[in-house]
């Protein structure tokens, strides 16, 4: 299914809709995805002030069934899984034995309508095949755990923004729209099976829906019908990136990689070492003190002027010494100013510290600021 017509990219079930509705398409994570429709700033602003709807079907969705699924995942994830109750969602990391980050994921414990408990792991599109390969020997150790990659048989839609609850109340049962933050439920959208979670990657309130591929277009169009008078816009990956950057959220391949450990990345909250043993836990225990083995820290930067300090820009001390590298940067539509995330030497990673960033040969002044840049009121 979803056979690409050209090249090697996969199509999501919403691909035709994107093309018909002005989506500018480009390859991302193995899929041909909409980068923007009406424009990054318009889509960004709609999400901050009203409602943005995102096709995030490229994200990998991996399902684990069986009474020992929790034990397997507890052995693989940096967050505790064994104590998860149906309806709970946790942000976690997957690390290698050295404590390097293989992926950042959401793990959900779900209860099917028939009362079956199972787990769902949402992984980055660009990491899915790596994670699936990496899982194989662990799955072999747990032969009673049933593993299914349900990415292709499902679609995933994010509904994000201050109007998300209001609009979703017209689409979903009250039990779904009343979910607490990082809670999830197997429910339905107008009698189509639907997993709803109160999660997102924008810094706004909202939901992420997982539906069957064959229901994707109908559910997607229902959201636009329900959100019509609320200023809903379809949002592409361009604004998804500016939104997550303002929200200080790391993106794998930029802030996160196998060369970065959770402490350097500022994600110690996503590592639970107490009374646990999981892949990488010994290395992480050794790294858990201090600034991290790299001596670097992830920081936010506000850059002066209009030019963004983008990925790979070098950061300098005011005395000219190189102190780090930008991992993501853009012009922030909310702050009308360039913002970046960077790894800098721990002694420069102090809020208020003045540094300089190289922007294609010119040094621009920048200030270390607290992350996230944006917090919803």
């Amino acid at each position: 299914m979803n056979t690409p017509q050209s090249g090697t990219n996969l199509f999501t079930p919403l691909h035709a809709w994107h093309v018909q509705n002005g989506g500018k398409m480009a390859p991302f994570g193995g899929y041909e995805m909409p980068i923007q429709y009406s424009g990054i700033v318009a889509e960004h602003t709609a999400t901050r002030t009203a409602l943005g709807v995102f096709d995030i079907s490229h994200m990998g969705r991996l399902r684990f069934d069986g009474p020992r699924a929790d034990q397997l995942l507890d052995h693989l994830l940096t967050r505790r899984v064994l104590d998860m109750q149906p309806g709970q969602v946790r942000y976690s990391l997957v690390c290698n034995e050295e404590g390097g980050i293989l992926d950042d994921v959401l793990v959900s414990c779900l209860e099917s309508p028939s009362g079956k408990i199972y787990f769902l792991l949402v992984v980055n599109a660009s990491n899915k095949s790596k994670i699936v390969d990496w899982l194989q020997p662990h799955l072999a150790d747990f032969p009673d755990v049933e593993f299914h990659d349900v990415t292709e048989s499902t679609a995933m839609i994010a509904v994000q923004g201050p109007r998300a609850v209001q609009v979703c109340e017209r689409l979903l049962p009250p039990a779904a729209t009343k979910l607490g933050y990082y809670r999830a439920k197997v429910t339905d959208q107008m009698s189509k099976p639907c997993i709803v979670s109160r999660t997102g990657y924008t810094g706004e309130d909202g939901f992420e829906l997982i539906v069957r591929s064959e229901d994707a277009v109908r559910v997607w169009e229902n959201i636009f019908l329900a959100g019509r008078e609320h200023g809903v816009l379809p949002v592409g990956l361009g604004a998804r990136d500016t939104l997550r950057l303002e929200a200080g959220m790391p993106l794998y391949g930029h802030e996160l990689s196998e060369q970065i450990d959770p402490y350097t990345a500022g994600l110690s909250f996503a590592v639970n070492l107490k009374d646990r043993s999981f892949v990488g836990s010994q290395s992480l225990a050794a790294k858990s003190s201090g600034a991290g083995p790299s001596g670097m820290k992830r920081v936010g930067l506000k850059v002066e002027g209009r030019r963004a300090a983008r990925e790979q820009s070098t950061c300098y001390c005011t005395d000219g010494q190189a102190i780090g590298t930008v991992t993501s940067g853009t012009f922030s539509p909310t702050f009308n100013q360039p913002i970046s995330m960077a790894y800098v030497n721990a002694d420069a990673a102090i809020v208020g510290h003045k540094i300089e960033v190289d922007i294609r040969g010119t040094r621009a002044p920048a200030t270390v600021v607290e992350l996230p840049f944006y917090k919803r009121s």
Binding site: M25, Q36, I40, H44, G238, R306, R307, R360
Partner: protein, 132 residues
């Protein structure tokens, strides 16, 4: 001056050049409406200085949108004799009029025969229609 897109020559990197026979070897350069629409949400532009010498295909400036930075390349060789320096402070104007008000620089061409290598309006329209 009233520059119409149909009168212009184009590069495949989306710069236009206006060099009528009566302009005594002076070429006016900008970027196409298609390029402006593709870039979207412009936030910054850098233009060359008067007196700068450029070769055809050489970078003469850059335009930055929220999404990315794009270099702009000179369609012809010559010396920059005038720059629309006010444009950098009113980038919005490019959206409405990338041709007349949105010109970027004027070049005294050193080799006007280079113009023959550029696309005419029909060829450029054909190229962008195939762009996707």
């Amino acid at each position: 001056m009233s520059i119409q897109p149909e009168q212009l020559k184009y590069c495949d990197s989306h710069e236009w050049v206006y060099a009528p026979a009566d302009a005594s070897g002076v070429a006016t350069v900008g970027i196409s409406a298609f390029a402006v629409a593709e870039l979207n949400d412009l936030v910054f532009m850098a233009l060359p200085s008067v007196g700068q010498k450029l070769a055809a295909g050489q970078e003469f400036g850059e335009v930055e949108s929220v999404k990315a930075v794009s270099p702009m390349y000179s369609p012809v060789s010559g010396e920059v004799i005038e720059v629309n320096s006010g444009l950098v402070d009113r980038l919005d104007q490019l959206n409405g009029d990338p041709y007349d008000q949105g010109w970027m620089m004027k070049i005294k061409m050193s080799d006007p025969s280079e113009l023959a290598k550029l696309m005419d309006y029909q060829a450029y329209q054909k190229m962008i229609s195939q762009h996707g």
